[in-house]
């Protein structure tokens, strides 16, 4: 049988042609790269209203009439930065929420230094988050606030809401891992054999660059090769370059993770899967998900390779709330926040969900006039109303 003819000459000829096209593109690309690029991220204006150690609380001034009275606190993960939620105009979760009339606060975890290495999950949850929640409650004179957690921030939010249900009106978890004993995520497989004690004892805080490298290794073909091939092909497109640079700015902006928090998160969650079993101990107290009694909206991505759906979907069945909802979007881990298409559905859905679960207006105090003061007292007894679905449960 004659050997198959692969037209190597034609392929090479096309390659030469493409090289020539590439050379022309390079000329235009040089103009783009050397010119002015609008690649700033986190451009929505905010005020820093609270600071504690390295942690800051951002408050975004409203851009539309407030429709949701209860403030929303967004809690991002310790990995990467919360600037992803405000990546660029048109793809900003923060801006979308503001446009929906939500009063938005966001925690900026800052950049941990060596002195933060002994901070545990308890310090973050019952320390920083609790102090910030109290600050927002007192500032806005509300008994409870809404919380939205992202990824590891969602895990912290779940722990917080379980230990302080009286302070949380509604809870939204997005791409939040709560069940870690799965085989569908590479992170879950790799973390099982990780010697985390040696890692933390060696580094103190886990370096952000090490984490970056680990995330790149999850899919080196796409993240280390194809992504940059795509960039070189589109280098002459200014808009593409700006979007690309913004994403690069965010994705490689990785703070270190406090060592003891990392140790506890890997050992107790990834390796022992204690959270979903109600066996996790934080601050000396067991985290009981059944005490999470407020409405819960659980959003996750079907194609999420970092936090697979199997890691997220068991939460709603484990909590004590009767008002829970799962939403599985056809996107990946960060697609929920950066995809303009997804955001068109995401923000309105959340605003609508929160709007239906607003706290009841506080009862007005009855004024006693001079005339009634002298009249004989009459006592009216009203029949007791059934408890509202989002009322706080009995204290722990």
């Amino acid at each position: 049988m004659a050997p198959p003819k692969i037209p190597v000459d034609l392929i090479l000829k096309n390659l030469a042609q493409e090289a020539e096209d590439a050379q022309q593109k390079m000329g235009k690309a040089a103009d783009v790269l050397l010119g002015e690029l609008d690649a700033e991220i986190a451009t929505t204006p905010y005020d820093v209203v609270y600071t504690q150690d390295r942690v800051k609380l951002k408050h975004y001034p409203p851009t539309a009439p407030r429709k949701i009275k209860t403030p929303l606190l967004m809690i991002y993960a310790l990995i990467n930065r919360e600037t992803m939620l405000d990546l660029q105009p048109g793809r900003s979760v923060v801006q979308n929420f503001l446009d929906q009339g939500i009063d938005v606060y966001m925690i900026d975890w800052g950049y941990p230094t060596r002195k933060d290495r002994y901070l545990e999950i308890d310090d973050h949850v019952n320390g920083y988050i609790d102090d910030i929640v109290d600050f927002i409650r007192h500032t806005n004179k509300v008994p409870k606030i809404n919380i939205m957690g992202i990824c590891m921030g969602g895990t912290f939010s779940v722990i917080y809401a379980s230990q302080h249900p009286e302070k949380v009106q509604n809870l939204i978890t997005t791409v939040t891992p709560t069940h870690f004993d799965i085989d569908t995520g590479l992170l879950n497989i790799w973390m099982r054999s990780m010697n985390v004690d040696q890692m933390v004892d060696t580094y103190g805080n886990i370096p952000g660059d090490l984490l970056n490298f680990g995330f790149l290794l999850l899919n080196p073909a796409r993240l280390m090769i194809d992504k940059y091939v795509g960039f070189f092909e589109n280098m002459a497109d200014k808009t593409f370059v700006e979007n690309f640079v913004r994403m690069e700015k965010w994705i490689f902006d990785s703070p270190d993770i406090p060592g003891e928090t990392f140790r506890q998160f890997i050992k107790d969650c990834y390796q022992r899967n204690l959270l979903i079993q109600n066996k996790l101990v934080v601050g000396g107290k067991r985290v009981d998900l059944r005490k999470l009694s407020m409405p819960l909206l659980n959003v996750y991505g079907q194609y999420d390779h970092l936090v697979p759906p199997e890691s997220c979907e068991r939460l709603t069945a484990a909590v004590g709330s009767d008002d829970t909802e799962d939403i599985c979007l056809k996107t990946g881990h960060i697609g929920i926040y950066v995809s303009s298409k997804t955001q068109k559905e995401f923000a309105p859905k959340i605003a609508s969900w929160l709007g239906k679960r607003e706290a009841p207006a506080p009862k007005k105090k009855r004024r006693v006039s001079a005339a009634t003061k002298t009249a004989p007292k009459t006592v009216r007894v009203r029949a007791a109303k059934p408890a509202a679905p989002n009322a706080a449960p009995a204290s722990k």
Partner: protein, 293 residues
């Protein structure tokens, strides 16, 4: 006993002639050097010229005593006997050295023989993997022990730390080679798979001329190969060993740096960490008290 060699009388102790010659040479020079003590002159007279003078006096006294005793018949006899035995001793020492060297050579040849045998036994299909395994075992079993020889002396701890860094570094190189090789395997397999697919495509009909088509095909194959590799327990094991080697090297290096910092009276990382821990615990207690009140 003196021998007569013709008209010349030669002392049987050759060093005596040499000694006399030296004395005859240096003796007259000493008075020519003003202020210098003359060891061969009258030692009773003249003041001491300081520490150098004292040292010269004691050296001269020793020299005279040795010279005097070596000319005694009994000493001469012993010296001649020693001179006769010296060649035998030298020969014995030389023989021992040669035997030791030969034994060392034998050991090296045996070691090379073992490596050659292991190399011959390597599976040619997996030659690179076998080579890395052989390299790892060779280092751990043969070479590493030289770096673990117990050190002696006042600076033994510092020496041991330096050797620990060298050992950890070598282990790291081995592990990194192993990990890099593992990450390279999907590249190789994807190229092979691409070639096979291109052949199938050519058999099926006219092939696409655009290089982009083949690039897209290759990247998909590469992605699939990596996904397969990453889920294997062997990969997790290699990654774990590599990380362990990185951490051990970091720890060994830090121990050496801490040594140097201590010498320079600069606080070490460990000391600062202890301070941070105390501050953290104090802050925590304060927060708890504030919340209570």
């Amino acid at each position: 006993m003196p021998e007569n060699r013709g008209t010349e009388t030669v002392n049987e102790a050759p060093h005596i002639d040499w000694t006399k010659m030296a004395a005859q040479f240096w003796g007259p020079l000493a008075p020519a050097w003003p202020g210098l003590f003359n060891p061969f002159g009258d030692q009773e007279k003249g003041p001491s010229g300081g520490r150098m003078d004292d040292a010269l006096r004691s050296s001269a006294a020793l020299w005279q005593a040795l010279f005097g005793s070596s000319t005694a018949p009994a000493a001469l006899d012993n010296f001649m006997k020693a001179a006769q035995v010296a060649p035998d001793i030298a020969f014995g020492v030389g023989q021992t050295c040669l035997q030791t060297f030969a034994a060392f050579q034998q050991q090296v040849q045996a070691w090379i023989g073992k490596r050659a045998a292991a190399g011959a036994a390597m599976d040619t299909q997996d030659l690179d993997k076998a080579f890395i395994r052989e390299w790892t075992e060779t280092y751990q079993n043969e070479l590493s022990r030289y770096l673990k020889i117990p050190q002696i002396g006042l600076t033994r701890f510092h020496q041991e730390r330096a050797l620990a860094v060298a050992d950890a570094f070598n282990v790291l190189q081995v592990r990194m080679a192993e990990f890099s090789h593992m990450l390279y395997l999907p590249m190789e397999k994807s190229f092979n798979a691409l070639q096979a697919q291109m052949v199938e495509m050519a058999k099926a009909g006219p092939v696409d001329e655009k290089p982009k088509t083949y690039y897209n095909l290759w990247i998909k194959l590469l992605e699939a190969q990596y996904m397969t590799l990453f889920q294997q327990p062997e990969y997790s094991a290699v990654m774990g060993r590599t990380l362990e080697a990185v951490h051990e090297f970091s720890a060994a290096r830090q121990a050496l740096i801490d040594d140097l910092l201590k010498m320079a009276a600069i606080p070490t990382q460990k000391e600062l960490d202890e301070l941070y821990k105390e501050i953290h615990q104090l802050k925590k207690r304060m927060r708890a008290y504030e919340k209570k009140t």
